[in-house]
Subunit: 191 residues, 2 copies
DNA sequence: TGTACATCAGTGAACGCGCGTTCACTGATGTAC
DNA sequence: TGTACATCAGTGAACGCGCGTTCACTGATGTAC
């Protein structure tokens, strides 16, 4: 059934971005083909180029989408927690096992973002996305009343949770990996 | 000039592993072709399969090699530092800019290790390598006299330096990235 | 409101390139006598 | 010690597959009259 109404077309385009975002988070840019994306979106691969000029153009949007939904999830999780346990709740959530298509975009996209040439929109999307998650973290974990030491602590915890997640993802649930996670959590004051 | 003496053959094999290790650290497994490796080793691509059954078999050895030389570098760096500043020296060194072929193997190999099927020797090489670097770090940053709190701190710093390096590699030297690095360093007691 | 026509989202096959792997061949190494 | 021969590391071309991209075609959408 060729051709759709304008509204349907936009919805399908959004679906492609959506689906690609999850696949890229789960398996990375290189391991996901255009045909994988289009199949998952319920179309055939030829139609892809009616929406995007290239695979890289899709990456830029799919990555942004991934960072957005990650930031949104963070806000929602913290919203449920009591006021003073925000950082702890965030780190707990971040380090909890998740479906592959919900994997941390900072980690999932890093290799491909680093590989891509400097001045691409997809690379900029990565930079903006990571900065966004960092700012989200700092906003949720600290407030105006926080001392500079507290902010420094939060910044370090941000890096630590990313590192811990990277190692846990690649290695799995061994005791020494759990020890790292527990050490991080132990450093986060619950008050 | 076909055929080499047995000694030359072994030396060439070692050179392939060496060169591949650097290329994989710099550009990742998928972005480095057999012909790249062999060209850099001063041979033609066909000869590769006289030494290894497959590209993945090379990865297992090249990755191990990368972890080994990384651990060795850590030991050397700390050796130069005064006794009580070992952890600080290690983190300073780890976060300092390096040539691409010296990039952190935990980060460079992570994506490909995660992607590879569960029971491969290359995947095991990654696990072992990361465990090795973790143990090296803990050995250098703590000793028998260290309290459990100190060990926890060190473990968290290990994760934090990996996370900070990941972000710095992909994003570059922006102020907020430098702030993360400084926050980590500020938490490492110099005494 | 109805009709003829242009548009263009989507199809599915094909193209072209790169890369892992294979293969027939070469000639130095090293062994057997 | 010398000589004939088997081995096998290394060469360079070719194969085959997957994937990004292109393309001729289809038929529903939506516009012009």
């Amino acid at each position: 059934m060729p051709k759709s109404s304008k509204l349907e077309t936009l919805a399908k385009r959004a679906r492609i971005v959506d689906v690609a975002s999850g696949l890229f988070r789960a398996r990375g840019y290189a391991d996901v083909g255009i045909s994988d994306v289009m199949k998952a979106a319920g179309m055939t691969q030829g139609g892809f180029y009616k929406h995007f000029p290239s695979k890289e153009a899709l990456a830029a949007e799919a990555w942004s989408r991934g960072f957005e939904s990650s930031a949104q999830a963070w806000n929602e999780v913290v919203g449920k927690a009591s006021n003073r346990k925000r950082e702890r709740a965030l780190i707990d959530y971040y380090l909890a096992p998740k479906a592959p298509e919900r994997a941390c975009p900072m980690i999932s996209f890093e290799h491909d973002a680093s590989t891509m040439s400097e001045n691409t929109t997809s690379r900029q999307a990565y930079r903006d996305g990571v900065k966004g998650l960092h700012d989200t973290f700092m906003n949720l974990a600290t407030d105006i009343a926080s001392s500079e030491e507290d902010k420094n602590k939060a910044r370090m915890h941000f890096a630590a949770m990313v590192g811990a997640n990277l190692l846990a993802t690649a290695i799995g649930d061994e005791p020494w990996i759990a020890a790292i996670r527990n050490s991080l959590l132990a450093d986060v004051v619950e008050e």
